[in-house]
């Protein structure tokens, strides 16, 4: 029965839905024709704005929202007060809480444009791009390592992360942003930034392992990752679902899927050096010096190990099957083919690994060796940074052929296909030639005529600021996705986006200056029953901060945040239990080297080493995605392990102490002053009388200020956006 059930099932599917055993254009057209009318495949038409006259309306968005609310007999919620508003919008746009000074200034500014001024400042701040990057990197499943068992570091991948931060900060037009990431090398030759942008195609996991390689299966995995990402990230269509059969719901045939793959038939992964000659000269010297510094220590370690290795090897040799030993004793060049085979087996059998050596070594030698290893690792921390390279893709001189694959099996090839965009968008698939295939794809995606691109992105912006998308499934605008809760709003935003030069900041600003955004989270009477899921946005959604933003906020409040931007990913101290999870067959004594400068541990979470198989508990417990598949929207789960990491971890205790020290330095010993200051720093407001009393009671019963700080940082109000 092996695999036959799979075959049978797929065979049935093929028969049932006009499959693509052999490409039959007429059948394909018929298949698509039946599904062509789905709303998201029609180009958005800019809707007329409703002629509602209401003081509530500040922006066109408000008019469209109010129209929808009224149709459901709903009313908007009252606006948030100014104190909470600055906290909300600062957390939203920067991922950090406002400082007490920023709050005071905003409260003092009674001018009519005070809020707009605030927005201008926040959108211009460099933290704006960092905030956006966190979201974008979720969607493109970015990490600093390959994943799978070896999970090797990608030493140059961070340049793509920094490119994303800079792009959002510079309000790079989204059409250009697409073109650079998909085809930066083809469309902007010689432009380093555009080359780095193509790291997009390599953001996902890749399985690299030793031994015999199935090159075709490896290549198929690589191409599938790239093609799937185009669908999820830019198109909002689950094209990957058409890998084994025609899409079950959307107008994408299996041939269409492989046409998309064929676009990458001329693409290969490549780290392209972008160093200057001076950098190269300096690097060559530095690496030479570095190796010289390692050498004496390596030699001393080898000298300690030598007698034991020898002894172990001799013992293993003595235990060899006589035939194998004989073969091994024959000089290499004189061995018969049979002896060559036996000698190879013999060599493998007498091999010695590190833990065997340590096992037979006397304790004092082991200690000496361990000391030397420490010295070695200290030197290794000073290893010169590799020469700058773009973690990129490039054009393959000899393009590879692409076939439709039966059930997606790399070894089961059906018809040959040419590169092309899905048939529903161009009946001749003819816009993609043989050269610059990705450029053609990018140009098509970045076109104002594309029915999906602008909608998908404005929906992401909206979801980012409002908590849920107008389309609740941001990576899937197809039939299995959720329908838009307000298509007029979506289409108005999409057309506005294109009309305003694909400016993300413009749409972002319009959303956060709309009255819909300014609403409180408290539902109006009846709203909970009439609109339990808040599909019509008659209130602001409750939104929990991501683990990263919680950590960053804690650092900001304790005064420890190191705002340095960009560069190599940083390792922070991890618990022994987490260290032990790093897979290694080699000696596990230096798997997580830490920089000596403690300030580096207090960088924003965006810059922490994102290792696919080793997740930091504080972040992972708060639903940080695993970076294996595109994550358009993080799940929000609430469970006991979050409480344990936020109450008991070393990180939290240290930060509470720093926080308490900061309060003492600002207030002296006056505990009321400290409590007020703590509220202002952590919650952006002063305590209410009952809260002040609670704090006083706690402190007068011998409670410590650092424990008060810990409680405050665990509070619901701290981890939820107002």
């Amino acid at each position: 029965m092996r695999r036959t059930s799979a075959l049978l099932l797929c065979a049935l599917l093929f028969c049932a839905i006009a499959g693509a055993w052999i490409i039959d254009k007429a059948q394909e057209e018929a298949f698509i024709a039946k599904r062509r009318n789905w709303w998201s495949f029609q180009k958005p038409v800019r809707p007329e704005l409703p002629s509602v006259n209401d003081r509530w309306i500040r922006t066109p968005i408000d008019a469209l929202i109010l129209e929808a609310l009224r149709a459901k007999n709903l009313k908007p919620s009252p606006p948030l007060d100014k104190e909470h508003l600055i906290r909300r919008v600062t957390l939203d746009l920067t991922g950090l809480p406002p400082t007490p000074g920023e709050v005071d200034n905003f409260l003092a500014d009674k001018s009519p444009g005070a809020y707009e001024k605030l927005i201008d400042r926040l959108i211009a701040s460099p933290q704006y791009g960092e905030r956006w990057a966190l979201r974008w990197l979720d969607v493109v499943r970015y990490a600093d390592t390959n994943g799978y068992e070896l999970d090797v570091l990608r030493p140059q991948a961070w340049r793509y992360r920094d490119y994303i931060v800079a792009s959002f900060n510079h309000d790079k037009p989204y059409d250009q942003f697409i073109k650079e990431q998909i085809a930066g090398d083809e469309l902007f030759p010689g432009n380093k930034e555009a080359l780095i942008a193509t790291g997009f195609h390599r953001a996902g996991p890749i399985h690299l392992v030793g031994g015999n390689q199935d090159e075709e299966a490896n290549r198929q995995e690589f191409v599938s990752e790239m093609a799937g990402a185009i669908g999820s990230v830019f198109m909002g269509v689950t094209v990957g679902c058409a890998k084994c059969h025609n899409h079950k719901f959307d107008p994408i045939t299996q041939a269409d899927y492989y046409r998309l793959q064929a676009i990458f038939g001329a693409t290969e992964a490549k780290d392209v050096e972008i160093a200057t000659p001076e950098q190269r000269t300096a690097y060559e010297q530095a690496i030479k010096d570095y190796k010289e510094r390692l050498k004496p220590i390596e030699e001393r370690i080898a000298a300690i190990e030598k007698p034991y290795r020898f002894q172990l090897q001799a013992k293993k040799k003595a235990a060899l099957d006589p035939k194998l030993r004989e073969a091994l004793d024959v000089p290499k060049e004189m061995r018969t083919p049979e002896q060559q085979r036996l000698a190879k087996d013999a060599e493998s059998q007498v091999g010695v690994v590190w833990d065997e050596v340590l096992e037979v070594m006397p304790a004092e030698e082991r200690a000496k060796r361990a000391e030397l290893r420490k010295k070695l690792h200290a030197i290794e921390l000073t290893e010169p940074a590799p020469l700058p390279a773009a973690y990129a893709v490039q054009h393959l001189q000899k393009p590879l052929e692409t076939h439709i694959l039966k059930i997606g099996d790399a070894h089961n090839k059906l018809d040959l296909v040419e590169p092309g965009i899905p048939t529903i968008f161009a009946s001749d698939n003819g816009r993609v030639g043989s050269d610059n295939r990705r450029a053609a794809l990018a140009t098509w995606l970045a076109s104002p005529d594309n029915p999906l691109t602008a909608r998908v992105m404005v929906n992401r912006i909206w979801q980012f600021r409002m908590g849920t998308g107008i389309v609740g499934t941001p990576n899937d605008f197809g039939r299995l996705g959720l329908p838009p809760s307000n298509q007029k709003l979506l289409d108005w935003l999409a057309t506005e986006f294109v009309a305003k030069g694909w400016s993300v900041k413009t749409i972002d600003r319009m959303i956060v200056t709309s009255n819909v955004y300014l609403q409180s989270t408290v539902p109006t009477p009846g709203a909970r029953t009439l609109d339990p899921e808040n599909k019509f946005y008659g209130r602001m959604n409750h939104r929990r901060l991501e683990g990263e933003a919680i950590r960053d906020s804690i650092l900001a409040v304790s005064g420890k945040l190191n705002p340095r931007m960009g560069g190599d990913p940083v390792r922070v101290p991890i618990e022994k239990e987490i260290y032990d999870l790093i897979f290694s067959e080699a000696e596990p004594d230096n798997l997580w080297p830490l920089l000596a400068d403690e300030n580096e541990y207090y960088r924003r979470s965006l810059y922490l080493m994102n290792k696919r198989t080793v997740r930091l508990p504080l972040l992972a417990n708060f639903d940080q995605p695993d970076t294996m598949t595109s994550c358009p929207m993080r799940p929000v789960s609430t469970h006991a392990l979050q409480a344990l990491s936020l109450m008991n971890s070393d990180f939290m205790h240290r930060q509470s102490i720093f926080f308490a020290q900061l309060l003492a330095s600002q207030c002296g010993s006056g505990s009321d002053c400290q409590v007020r200051r703590a509220y202002k720093l952590a919650l952006s407001r002063l305590p209410k009388p009952n809260e002040l009393k609670m704090a006083r009671d706690f402190l007068s019963a011998n409670g410590l200020m650092e424990d008060f700080c810990l409680a405050l940082l665990n509070r619901n109000e701290f981890v939820y956006i107002p």
Binding site: A6, G211, K344, W354, D476, P635, T638, M647, R715, N716
Partner: protein, 479 residues
């Protein structure tokens, strides 16, 4: 599972409030004070336990699972699947009719290697087991061996992912995550899904083997160790006294109550999570404290012997977890350095005698202990690995990976013991009418009363399921 909130993959706690109100009075450290406080202030609100037990789709015999995973792949032809033909063909090449058999390191041209161990028949069923597993051999009447499983990669990590998550790719929810997503947990004071890796190191597949994938983090496996702090960050750091901690927690919960409006289930869930955490703080150390176990029990698990103490302790902990209502226990033998894995590329004899020696007695003790306590009927015990090993040799005296056919076994949880299902060919290379991991998973879900197609989660436009497009429940497994 059909609430629209589940469909969207959104806020899990709010979905749970409606049906999964925390049962019974809150008790334990911190929570008690809060309970009194809330009662006094008339603020008692709905409390939410995101892992509260849920009803199965139908009545399943098994209530919990212990999955014993042997990292690196034990050889089936040397343990549970005897192949006398290997002796007859010793030293010869695999017949050409088998085609080219490429594994991770070998190309299929090494000679056939007979098993160095003798097989004898055991139990009333007369089940053949090799001399490597003298203790497990005593339990065969409770065990159902399935000899025709196969996986689809010759490489450890992808094959491990397939056994744990159903796919050879990283990033899919693990079996334990699906089960706790479907059933919650009977334990209110312990995590619902615990994991005990080999102390020397992690399996090749690493944390994704017990990860929640795209499911919410509440369904991830939680590492569990013996000792005073069995769960990461369970205890406050040194210097924080219980009194201080209690006062801090009470202050926090009082403040949280100010932040929580009537009917605000999400905030209520957060308050509950602190109560749960602090119940865990007092219950988890007790749950891993073996001092109350009788000497006879400890001895039976091999806690008195150097080679069995580690795995024996973890097996005993597994029983204690199941006793306390933990839904899923994932236990690993092997991990880290090559010498601590079942990965016998060379010197099969030394490797398997060591690894079997570490685990044989503890595994048998676990089965007997569960049975004696009346827990075996409701506990599904699974023994298995990512693949088996080739009938040909590697390096002269070892074996390379064989995903094409290998043995795993089930016991307890409604399983009919003393039987063999399926077979491999005469050399043990290929499964005959093989069982895919989809069937393996469908069968496990079935034992628990879960219907594979009803257990799904919408992710990136797909209703993702453990068994993808569906497996076949191996019905013969059950009594």
């Amino acid at each position: 599972m059909n609430s629209s909130i589940f469909r969207n993959g959104l806020h899990i706690p709010s979905a749970l409030t409606r049906r999964d109100v925390l049962r019974g009075a809150a008790h334990g450290f911190g929570a008690l004070a809060l309970q009194q406080l809330l009662a006094r202030d008339g603020l008692a609100k709905q409390r939410v336990n995101p892992l509260a037990a849920k009803k199965a789709h139908f009545e399943g015999k098994a209530k919990s699972v212990i999955f014993l995973f042997m990292v690196g792949a034990p050889s089936h032809v040397d343990t549970f699947d005897p192949k006398p033909a290997l002796k007859r063909y010793q030293g010869q090449q695999l017949p050409a009719s088998f085609g080219k058999v490429e594994s991770q390191f070998t190309k299929g041209d090494d000679p056939l290697l007979p098993s160095p161990w003798e097989f004898k028949n055991y139990g009333q069923c007369g089940m053949p087991v090799s001399s490597l597993f003298p203790h497990i051999a005593q339990c065969v009447d409770d065990i159902c061996f399935i000899r025709n499983f196969y996986t689809e990669s010759v490489v450890h990590a992808p094959a491990m992912y397939q056994v744990h998550t159903g796919r050879i790719l990283m990033g899919y929810p693990s079996l334990g995550s699906w089960v706790t997503y479907g059933l919650g947990s009977e334990s209110e004071n312990l995590p619902g899904y615990v994991v005990m890796p080999q102390p020397e190191g992690t399996p090749e597949g690493g944390t994704p083997c017990w990860g929640a994938g795209f499911l919410p983090a509440v369904y991830q496996g939680t590492l569990l160790r013996s000792g005073a702090s069995p769960i990461l960050n369970l205890q406050p750091p040194e210097g924080m006294t219980p009194q201080r901690q209690r006062a801090t927690l009470d202050l926090l919960q009082k403040m949280n109550d100010l932040d929580t409006a009537e009917n605000d289930s999400e905030m209520a869930a957060r308050i509950s999570s602190y109560e749960l955490a602090f119940r865990m703080q007092s219950h988890a150390p007790e749950a891993v404290d073996l001092s109350k176990e009788s000497e006879a029990t400890k001895k039976s698990y091999g806690l008195d012997q150097k080679h069995t103490i580690d795995f024996g302790t973890r097996c005993l902990l597994a029983r204690r977890m199941v006793e306390r209502g933990v839904r899923f226990v994932q236990l690993y033998s092997g991990g880290g350095p090559v010498s601590m894995q079942w990965d016998a590329h060379k010197d099969l004899v030394a490797n398997h005698e060591k690894m079997c020696g570490l685990t044989d007695q503890p595994v048998a003790a676990l089965l007997k202990d569960l049975k004696q306590r009346g827990l075996l009927d409701s506990t599904l015990v699974i023994w298995g690995s990512e693949f088996g090993r080739l009938p040909m040799s590697q390096s002269g005296n070892g074996r390379d990976h064989n995903p094409h056919g290998f043995t795993m076994w089930f016991a307890g949880g409604g399983v009919k013991g003393g039987q063999v299902i399926g077979d491999t060919d005469e050399f043990g290379l290929n499964a005959v009418d093989g069982n895919h991991m989809r069937n393996f998973h469908a069968t496990i879900l079935h034992a628990l009363g879960l219907e594979q197609f009803q257990l799904w989660y919408l992710h990136n436009g797909r209703q993702e399921k453990l068994t993808d497009f569906g497996g076949t429940v191996i019905k013969e497994v059950f009594a």
